[in-house]
């Protein structure tokens, strides 16, 4: 699919995962939900990008339920997608609204999938999950590794000078 639809070109039969109208690019196709599940369960997805509530240092992901929070708690296809995709990227804020780390030693929220996350992209850093631990790959402008570490609940490994986040 293409970008989001501008005002006036919306077609509500063409919406994304959040029901926002989108455009189609040449070659776009529609398929049945059963086929979509087959793609994720059958290991045919190259990359999945999911949101996250917590990611552990081992790459465990919690992204479907915050205990006690009103209105959260539909796992959807996340479990299948997280387990089935060859590469899993998690996009989330580095901390909660209260400032608590979302990258933690071990997840305290209900799990989506164990040891599934490959890369975490947050508003502060890009972090790779490797067998040896969490590798700090890039940081947002103006931040130091120590400052990012302070807002992280697990040990980050900063091997060399960490480059600034690039956007192109």
């Amino acid at each position: 699919m293409g970008r989001r639809a501008k005002s006036g070109e919306e077609d509500f039969d063409q919406v994304d995962a959040m029901k926002v109208p989108v455009t189609l690019i040449p070659g776009a196709s529609f398929f049945h939900q059963a086929d979509a599940h087959l793609m994720s369960r059958g290991g045919h997805l190259d990359v999945a990008v999911l949101g996250g509530f917590q990611v552990s240092e081992k790459g465990d992901l919690s992204n479907w339920k915050i205990p006690g929070a009103k209105g959260s708690g539909g796992i959807g296809g996340a479990m299948d997608i997280a387990a089935g995709a060859k590469t899993l990227i998690v996009c989330m804020e580095h901390t909660t609204k209260d400032g608590a780390p979302k990258i933690v030693k071990s997840c305290t929220y209900p799990l989506t999938c164990l040891a599934c996350v490959d890369t975490i992209v947050t508003d502060l850093a890009v972090i790779d999950v490797k067998p040896e631990g969490l590798i700090l790959r890039e940081m947002a402008h103006g931040w130091t590794a120590e400052q990012v570490q302070e807002l992280t609940g697990a040990q980050l490994i900063a091997r060399q000078r960490i480059p600034e986040m690039s956007f192109d």
């Binding site: 994304d16 995962a17 959040m18 049945h32 793609m39 990359v47 999945a48 986040m165």
Partner: protein, 83 residues
């Protein structure tokens, strides 16, 4: 206002990415031609940033609308299967 400029500089010196910027950065992680699934939340913004690289993107999570409908019975949100 001179104060504003200083304030802006301080913010620029150490700022957090917006949700759009997170999506923009994550889009760079997608290889060309990959079959990609985008979840809801920040990942949903990624499609806006990867047109040039044209990966194949499928969307998911219509279950969200079942959940939304369950949360707002009064609003009668209709569930539409969209994959």
């Amino acid at each position: 206002m001179p104060g504003d400029a200083i304030q802006q500089k301080v913010m620029l010196a150490k700022s957090r990415l917006t949700r759009e910027q997170i999506a923009q950065r994550a889009a760079l992680e997608l290889p060309d031609g990959a079959y990609v699934n985008l979840g809801w939340g920040i990942p949903n913004l990624i499609a806006d940033y990867c047109r040039k690289r044209s990966p194949f993107i499928s969307t998911a999570k219509t279950e969200f609308w079942e959940w939304a409908a369950a949360q707002n019975p009064a609003k009668k949100i209709s569930i539409r299967w969209t994959r």
